[in-house]
Symmetry: C3
């Protein structure tokens, strides 16, 4: 199979599937085909987990996000694969790449490995969902997509901006968007920081983002204008991009809903608002990459955040699966020779 090179870099943890009373009661588990068993045509959707929190530690945060991908994956498998009377089509089997092997590797090597895997999946035409990991997960994601398009658009749903300077150790969970902004090889046409909270982002950093020509939508302004209006603005700004990535830092939600994160925020989005954001962005045909990051099961409350992340993962896949990616799609990949 043409994805064998990826299979060697990943491991598929055993997932305990509880017995089901009714065979018609289809769950996401039924659609998550392990990479090793993948024999059909290139996947339309691919799922990858990146279990590491080195970047969180470098950023002075509390570790634990490395356990998120396996936990979210387990919760995802149990969700019903339907909305109302509509069931996910049996044709939409999803390539479950499992978890990237990260044991003992330095962060930079993990990032390279992740970028390679995500790039390969994009090349075969998959829409990719990456489960982090700290927010530095977004760096190799942005690079992988950036190498394959001419005008990259990124929406970062986050209480923070994550444009800090590097530490002496290098990249960390608070720096990915600075690195993408300053990466000359990355055609970052549009960056929209969405949901930035007052007293959680330095004026210094807000100015940095705006002076580079990018957008900061503060949470207060989103509320003042309404989420609907803000999303219409986001969609308009992304229209000319030929590759879009949505990065969802779960600390964008109020910590009541998502307590299990590295840096909880008392105020923030509600689950239905984040769902509306996912549906809006992931339904744009140029959206090829979504990551869900910063879930930290070790500080979670009864898996509340893990379950919510699984719900967002399910909604992302559902949106990918129901999108009409037809020939008129504006996506035209550049060759990404350095990636192979």
């Amino acid at each position: 199979m043409h994805l064998r090179d990826i299979a060697q870099l990943c491991v598929s943890p055993a997932v305990a599937v509880p017995p089901r009373l009714e065979v018609e009661d289809r769950r996401f588990e039924d659609y998550l085909m392990p990479l090793a068993e993948w024999t059909s045509s290139p996947p339309r959707i691919a799922l990858v987990g990146v279990p590491q929190d080195i970047g969180v530690a470098r950023n002075g945060g509390r570790r634990g996000a490395a356990a998120a991908p396996a936990a979210i994956r387990a919760a995802l498998g149990k969700l019903a694969a339907s909305i109302g009377e509509v069931i996910l089509s049996p044709e939409v089997s999803i390539c479950d790449c499992g978890l990237v092997r990260t044991d003992g590797l330095p962060l930079e090597e993990i990032h390279q490995r992740q970028e390679y895997i995500v790039g390969r999946l994009l090349d075969v035409g998959a829409n990719v969902l990456v489960l982090g990991g700290g927010h530095d997960t977004a760096l190799p994601n942005g690079r992988a997509l950036g190498k394959r398009v001419e005008r990259l658009g990124i929406v970062n749903v986050d209480a923070h901006l994550d444009v800090r300077i590097l530490t002496d150790d290098g990249s960390h969970s608070g720096s990915p968007f600075r690195e993408l902004i300053e990466d000359a090889a990355c055609p970052l046409e549009v960056l929209i920081e969405f949901g930035t909270q007052r007293f959680s982002a330095s004026a210094h950093h807000v100015r940095y983002v705006r002076e580079h020509g990018y957008i900061v939508w503060m949470l207060d302004d989103i509320r003042r204008c309404s989420l609907e209006v803000a999303l219409a603005d986001v969609e308009l700004r992304l229209a000319e991009c030929d590759g879009i990535m949505l990065s969802l830092d779960v600390d964008a939600l109020a910590s009541a809903y998502a307590p299990g994160v590295s840096a909880p925020a008392g105020d923030g989005f509600q689950p239905a608002e984040v769902a509306a954001i996912i549906e809006r962005i992931a339904s744009m045909p140029q959206c090829r990459l979504v990551d869900i990051v910063e879930v930290n099961p070790s500080v979670d409350a009864d898996e509340r955040t893990v379950r919510l992340a699984a719900y967002f993962a399910a909604l992302t896949m559902w949106t990918f699966a129901h999108r009409r990616d037809d020939a008129s799609s504006p996506i035209h990949f550049r060759p990404a020779s350095d990636d192979h």
Copy 2:
């Protein structure tokens, strides 16, 4: 007293009442008259707890709901018996039947006992509030009311549909509405599943409910139309019923507000929305039965869910107490001979 037969089937746990500074500071405790002391005319409102979670275990859920009725009852007693300047009338003493004796009984026998007790209370004219227990609590409730009316209406406020098939052991917490639908003796005219969540209900089950002529109001659709519009639709559909039951599964709320449930959902109703539902449905004169189920104190956070359930219980009683159940009420009981 004419309810002596019920008294033998129930036990009233001792409730510790904290001392109060001011006698005018009336609490619900002052209105909850133990069944053993009940000497007045038939109660207008009766409270019954059913401490069992056998059905939850059969459904593969985590046990703990058996402790809910006593915990909710204790929290309820401490609530002020007033809204603003309006105090609950001293005439509205509530018959507190305590907890149904369930120790060592198989689930089927508990269900029969509960159905008998609830039926007796309905027969003497009481509006009944049942504290569960797993959601199978709704099965004997529906049967008790169904035997006494010609057109039964049920509103199930729930993230799930609870129309699964039976296990080898029989009834469980995920099957009550299937059993009521398929019970030829139950005149289930209207069933409204209210707040069903995407990825939490199988398409298969949604179709099952609709094919039997019943209604599924998905949470997303309620939000799209507004709760107000959805409730107006519910009220219209229930108008012709001569007996209405409201079943409130507390997992219909976002788990931030109600973490102590068997199967928490990250998204869901907010407390004020559930309060609006209770006020709307329980104020219909045909509404004779409300149950509050699936609270699980063993996984609760600082009694958050228990207190919220107590608030919903107080609001239900308040609504019952302020309802004008006059002679023009369309309730005409059928004889329910098999129940005596």
Copy 3:
């Protein structure tokens, strides 16, 4: 320095300041000047903590609020001192008085000490933010401001009314507003109970407040009218006051957002609503005093409530700092000779 007398009554706990990558990344810590180092002109803003929960214990509540001021102060220091591109002006250094020395003192003596300190700070022109402590913290606050104005206005944001009668021990966390109402020396022109919840306040107490000519805005009524309309009413009622105090009991929020309080309420305000209240009231030039009370770190969930209180503290200071307190201000202090 002219505030030396206060310095002797307070202690400044050592605050661990984490190292920062970028010097331009200004935090509130940079603005909180310890009282001992205060050498400039009178402070525009002063911060005082009152670590005691004796009044909570007297009210039958669970102790723990004594630890709140230090915890909130630590969380506050880490917050970014900016909203969007606007950074707090370097001229707005805030006098951080630390914590009032309360060890071993009876409650009445703590109250006197607090009233003296707050009064002194008001006299030198500071806008004062007090971190409690139980809600009896509001009693010396109200007295201190009341002695200095002719028409005192108080807004109490709270699930409860806190107008209970005294216990045999005297003042407690449930009685401050009764004591202020009945204090002939306190020119309490306007008292607005804001966010009172049904089943959490006795009709008896609601009537008590109203019969004394004061206002109860129930949470339900606020929702019915909209927060915007209710706040416009509050602002209008306060217009003629020459001194305004905002008392924020964090149990006014739904316990999902603020679990760490003495008496949690399942329903209640959301964080953004409380932020709107703070911005509206604290931006009135007559508003000289804000207290944030009833945070209880010992029952908190991962510092959720402490962080939220820190956010409200930051917003209060921000609002004070950006307010135009010009000569046309209607504040004309009376001499408060008994206080010196």
